[in-house]
Amino acid sequence: MAKRVLVALSGGVDSSVAALLLKEQGFDVVGSHMKLWDYVDVGGDVHQDGRCCSLDAITDCRMVCDAIGAPFYVLNLSSQFRERVINDFVSEYKAGRTPNPCVRCNADVRWEAFLQKAIEIGCDYIATGHYAFVERNENGRFHVRKGIDGTRDQSYVLWGLTQEALARTLMPLGGLLKPDVREIARRFGLRTAEKPESREICFVADNDYRRFLREWEAKEGRLPDSGDIVFDDGTVVGRHHGTAYFTIGQRKGLGVSHPRPLYVQSIDAERNRVVVGEYDSLLALEFSVRDVNWMAIEAPEEAFEADVKIRYLHTPSPAMVSELPGSTVRVKFSQEQRAITPGQSAVFYRGDVVLGGGIIA
């Protein structure tokens, strides 16, 4: 009997084509859309038109599934999403860190509650429209490898997947370029073929995370605390209205005048201070990584070399990973890197393969 796969559809072209390709490969495809949040709760888009989790997006998923001959279900995972992703997003910012909610969502919602649902309804696999490969390597372990479309590589947000989750995961778009995907959608007449792509945080529709935090906190009855903007010697140079509204490396919107450009160097939420400095103050060699998940390799005993990527648009850079084994490791780049930001993910690669990753402490 054909293997059954639950495809996570966002309403965009990538996941539509993923479903189509699996169908053509002979899988028993079941489509589904995860309802993760509601505009009523997250704000940011008065028109509510067409993005993931809107009714229009759900309609697009539904029509695509009908076109390829797959049943379709909406799965409401909004309580899990709020608890695991949005609450974490807010508390991380409040703690002076810069979270990556897609990482949390993947590890704690998609490859957790969604996968569980898939198993419950008798599916063998789940599938997504990520531009990446899931493979089993010679050690018998599963890993994620970067897709061939370097501009769309999403392996960075997938480091948190467990071996059990990867064993049940299909990513059919790894070997395609985005234009190919659109071409396939067009050829098949899928209604999502020309849909523009969204790369922002899905629940921050207007891409203004400060607006989101402000509204979310206000709804919970919390107001931001004003405090000082200082140099790292403690000299006060300005005022801020909540440390959560700053990220490391930020230059704009500091409201501080200085002969040379100033950047946020660190955020000290405990003392309610934002520390700023000149460009050079952002450069660093070493940092710790917590909550590490090992993927292509088992937890190593000894220090090893890897290319380490520290944010979505960072080019992986050679480093030593040490203080092993443990769930917190130490990373030392061979060259100084700019704005190593607590809360972001650090992903360890060998070539295109994800060895593991964790969260910058």
């Binding site: 049943p71 909406v74 419950e120």
Partner: protein, 390 residues
Amino acid sequence: MEPIYLDHNATTPVDPAVIESMLPYLGGRFGNASSVHQFGRDAKVALENAREQIAAFINCEPAELYFTSGGTESDNMAVLGTAYYLRSKRNHLIIGATEHHAVLEPAEYLHKKEGFALELLPVDGEGFASSDRLRELVTDKTAIVSVMHANNETGTIQDVASLSEAALHRGALFHTDAVQSTGKIEVDVKQLGVDMLSLTGHKIYGPKGTGALFIRQGVKLAPLLYGGSHEKKRRPGTENVAGAVGLAKALEIAGQRRRQDFDRWSSLANYFVEAVSARIPDVHFNGSRSARLPQTVNLSFQGIEGESIVLALDLEQVAVSSGSACTSGATEPSHVLTAMGIPAIVAQGSIRFSMGRSTTQGQLDYVLEKLPPIVERLRSLSPVYQRSRA
């Protein structure tokens, strides 16, 4: 294989004879019932004939029957219309705890936005509301009491006659949502003693988008729509003549088949409930075993989520629902079962099997073959169930 449809409380197919009766009014006899010329007269006569037939079916005067677009509109019209009309004298609402959202939500709106006091009339473990309790709750300020005739999720049939009597002694209006019961059991507005009654076509092999509200002569209510003198200005809008004709025909057929369908459904339901209980442990029957629409069987499979069962059965070509169709997709347990005092761990795993005229024992046997392994798989994955067994 042909998919098996066990969700007739959500909707039914239109009976071929009903389609036949409607066709002339979709084609050649297309007139606007308000027009003065012969096309209009022809349509108007058809509309009034349908009204007469439906009125006779529920034992009211034709002048007391108003066509609407269906159950939701009838319910809204009854609750909002009377509340708005009476608001200066009466600002209190009593609504059954297990009502359909088409009654609950307008009542909640009146409570939250329009300053009405709202009281929910509780139900017991089988879903019955008590007329003694209603007598305690109703006051001189109560505008409307609304308690549904047969529940859409459990099929439990209320003793509407004694409830309406309890409302009457304080002069409150009584509305009943008879969307599920009309055509399946006897619905007689005089015996029920109600001031208003909602009904629809699509639950009884009539067309979707058809319905009516019985409003007893003398009961006043504010309209929700403005824009013409149709339905005596209470429900303006060009009348759906074909729909009204189809609704009348559907009720006629339901009336003829009622006893025979009732008996057949009763024995199929008994067979099914017994067989499920014999094959699957920790199954709870929700609702009344005696006063119930026999084609509605609501079962809870402890420790798992109804939604997962619905999806898994759908993938096996069996269509059922968890809770009411409108709440599926949400993860909260049904408000109906919660109001009946059923604990969340049981309520969450509830499935409504609702049979129709086409349901056969062979279909139920197929479900009986597919269901046990699904429940077993879900339970093996459910820490909640494992804990409850430990």
